[in-house]
Symmetry: none
Subunit: 216 residues, 4 copies
DNA sequence: GATGAATGAGATTTCATTCAT
DNA sequence: AATGAATGAAATCTCATTCAT
């Protein structure tokens, strides 16, 4: 007979909570929000209804947590990329290459959550739609500010930094969305080079072909 | 001699059918597929349950019809733009400008259906998801072939026509999606110029700034 | 331009009414009361909803008319058989043989109505169930009275004429029901001989084997 | 140590399931399959919609279970009767008497299920109709084989064992059906004697009147 | 903490019948 | 007389969530 320390108990709880989330992510990614029934998650996770509702208030909350995790993870990646950006104009190409490369890697690493973030989060509820829009605009804003700065230095050549940011992120997401819907799981990184080329060219950035060779 | 003119009846039927479709489009666009209940459409359209099911088999069918209409309308627009493309290299910029301009106008003309096509059609059902993916690939393929042709003539400079086509369409859609989620009714065409600039630059096309001034 | 006499008009109406009834009989026999939708009858008859409800008040009425027709036709057959029964004891066997033979022939002649009368009329509504029970008891009563008379003359040997009548009719109906559910349409009359033998023996009637040879 | 005894829970579940079935039997018997709405069963049983669908998939399944129970119970009774049949010719009368007596008792014991089996199971669906026909043929076959055997020994005198079996079972069922539709609760066994007399005579079996006196 | 039986609001759909033309 | 579009009550069933054990 063992006396469990409260800490051990807490760890066990955390593990179960995590297990439910991970399972839910898998199921949501496969079927989408509305076609995923709570029962599907329960069965896949091997837990009871009661447990599910002990750890979470409802289905939407579980989805929202997963969604937030994904957005935060992605924002971290972006912030990391931005942080290493120097003001040195000659490194602009390299910096943007890094931002894109890190984005793709983040999505590839967790295909399920990518699917949730980009596809599965549509049409949940009006409130959620608002949140989703806000998140996407926040991400777009990161690039918008970078572009604005670069524009001042005449390091890039675009008429409108806001629109450019939308198009930049949009092109990345469309590629990922496309990749997610391919039956055979081609390596996402295979698309990295043309993706970078397209966007750097779009921004009017002079970039070294050599930099493109060394990506990933 | 019959008691009524079948033609008049048929016209009335067509009108009612159209009315249901239009109302459904409005409601779907506002609430999304799953949050739209058949009852919502009935109330908004001021018709009875029976009428709805007299004209259509079920909710999904109504959605599918609307979706197909939108896709077909958009494909027509694209084909029109492609048809006027000459082989004359110096007109490539103009041609692509036309394709983008027509696309934006098509979406602006019918904001509701644009919302359905780009946002609301996600997660309906596995079968529908297949159809949706196929449609998007078809549209992307139109551009891919154009890019392939232009590439042979060295009129554009990109490493991969397939990826370029995805990014091209993706950037357009992301702009429209963004516009759709803006509360105020900003003119979509306001974004036309930077959108074209971004993509023409991305493709490495030499374009005349004058052409951009005269759009719309 | 012809002037139709009212009589001709009436005849046309009657013909249409009959056409609807005949078609309904066919459909009811095939699918049963509840699995037959008014629409099925309309389509099969090539008429409109309005016409149907012009000639009849509702679906149940149509069924009831068909049912009554069948019962009446059957009762007529029975009465005919009873009418020819003489009080001559030596003809009792022949008379019962005739009653059974005529019954079988009546059912075979109109398989559809047989199906409606014996199988398809179950579970329509509580009121209809009452009517149905009453009709069956009426038919049974015909035989009960015959048996009662024969019993007085000691022409048959049974403990209870009422029960005998139930069993007599029941055995006939069970044979027909069985026959109706055979996939291949065997000749019902093939069963006539053993059916008669069974019941005459049951009643303790002395019968001439020769009479059995000449049936039908 | 778990928080509850699974056994007790299971027993409660079984009891509830049984309660639903019994209630459904009562309602089906009273109103028939089509006039019984799921709601009627819920109200009569005092349960919620959810409970009903937790225990059963749909209304038809409940009906089918009840129907199968009845058929199986009846077949058991028959098999029991058949098992005690000896090859001793002089006991043939007694054996058939026993078979009929047990049949009647089985039906009397559960009037509701008898009603379902004999009356209420008509016209549910084409598939069910097939099953029903097959079941009835199976029961008829039990008697057919007995009759065939007795025929070889010349213990009975009938022209066709198959038809005789149909008529034998048909006569029993018609009596029960009749009894079911009587308003007052007449004892079914009251009819046993004339029923046996009719059928034994029909089969040409020599029976002892004494045996008939001691039935039930 | 865990379980899963129980709940019931609410969604979709059917189909007999009506009624304007 | 005929048509068939329109109606809407009513039926079945789903499934997120609750709660007694």
């Amino acid at each position: 007979m063992s006396y469990r320390t409260p800490k051990a108990i807490q760890e066990k709880k955390d593990a179960k909570r995590r297990h439910i989330l991970d399972t839910a992510a898998k199921v949501f990614a496969k079927r989408g929000y509305y076609n995923t029934k709570v029962r599907d998650i329960l069965e896949e996770a091997g837990i009871s209804t009661g447990s599910f509702y002990f750890y979470f208030n409802n289905k939407e909350e579980v989805f929202e947590i997963l969604y937030d995790e994904m957005i935060n993870a992605y924002v971290s990646v972006l912030q990391e990329a931005v942080a290493t950006m120097t003001d040195n104009a000659e490194h602009i190409g390299k910096s943007l290459i890094k931002a894109i490369t890190l984005s793709l890697r983040a999505f590839q690493k967790n295909k399920e959550l990518a699917r949730i973030m980009l596809i599965g989060s549509v049409g949940i509820s009006p409130q959620f739609e608002k949140k989703r829009t806000a998140d996407y605009q926040k991400i777009s804003l990161v690039f918008e500010e970078i572009f604005r700065k670069l524009l001042q230095k005449k390091a890039i050549r675009i008429p409108d930094p806001k629109v450019a940011a939308i198009l930049f992120t949009g092109s990345i997401y469309s590629l990922i969305t496309n990749w997610l819907q391919e039956d055979d799981s081609v390596e996402l990184v295979k698309y990295t080079k043309p993706l970078i080329a397209y966007n750097l060219q779009a921004l009017g950035v002079q970039y070294d072909d050599l930099d493109l060779e060394n990506i990933y």
